[in-house]
Amino acid sequence: MKPAPFDYRRPESVEEAVAALAEGGDEARVLAGGQSLVPMLAFRLARPALLVDVNRLPLDRVETLAGGEVRIGAVVRQRAAERSGVAALAEAVRWVAHPPIRNRGTVVGSVCHADPAAELPALALALDGVLEVRSASGSREVPVAELLVGPLMTSLRPGELAVALRLRPRPGWRWRVREVARRRGDFAIAGVVVGVPPDDGTCRMVVFGAAGRPYLVEGPAGELPALAGARAEPVTDVHADAAYRRHLVEVLTRRALAA
């Protein structure tokens, strides 16, 4: 038993959940899949006074909306998303950790955790993601581009609960994810999500692991690798130096385009 003590609530409705979060304020955290939060609790990097367990909320569906948008509920497991028939989701999720982690980890939770080297926030940015957010005082929609503000930092406020993520895979587009990690399933040293339109015109891609947050790049396929590399703000750490990360961004972009 390694985490510091906390109070625990397991609401059955979104209303109950946001009421509990409002009560907990700054000291409350949402517990969804827990595959990032629980390690942080074990290391005591996070010491919330209250955990609001949202796993029993009726938010476990992947729906295709009119217009082709895909709506992913807050407790849809990564494993379920992988098998949902949405090709872009399956392509990204297969790179996330390992099956036992994906059996619990949620898509929405990963996006809200905002790890700069994670696949799902990058995918959400590439697919024009919009987060549906509820709180005791109402609801709002947060574009993923405005959600991700830095490493493990989002624009969500205390008391807010992400209830769903909407993605727009764009009909006919081909989405490819490529990354390099020290071992399969580890966080990426660097990675890319690349989308090519059916007319082979302007491509849309997101780079992850090469800056404090994933970033969007658009351009024709021929210029994309250089554009993506130029925008990188990579760090040097024990796993790779900055120059290598920038190099990877360009190579991975070329590989994704060729795949």
């Binding site: 038993m1 827990g34 367990d53 390992h98 036992p100």
Partner: protein, 152 residues
Amino acid sequence: MIDVAVEVNGRLVRARVEPRLTLADFIRERAHLRGTHLGCEHGVCGACTVLLDGLAVRSCLLFAVQAEGARVTTVEALAGDGELHPLQQAFHRHHALQCGYCTPGFLMALAELWERREAVTDEELLAAVAGQLCRCTGYSGIVAAARDAFAR
């Protein structure tokens, strides 16, 4: 303190627990089943892998209170009456363990796939064990055992 009731290997285990008690600690200390091992206790090593409602999960990354009403299967449930499970027999044949500390986790990660073993691909087998750490065998024996048990 919260009352929980979890079905572990077909037996209902009731306990009054702190919310911060992990499922792994619940299994070991409250259900008194010590086959589930704790390595890193933060989700990296896979030694504590069990089945939760039939799916492989890290029991160190779940709190016991979250498993209320769920069905947990641990390594103790694999062997039948005096006979090892085919996965365990394959591990034995292929020397897929040395110290054995990681073995329950490997077995349970593979056990998730056992029910639909006819349809499991080699890629799935490798993915299933890729997240499990072993510090002695070098993995060749483990992969050979898995392929043998699943006839791949």
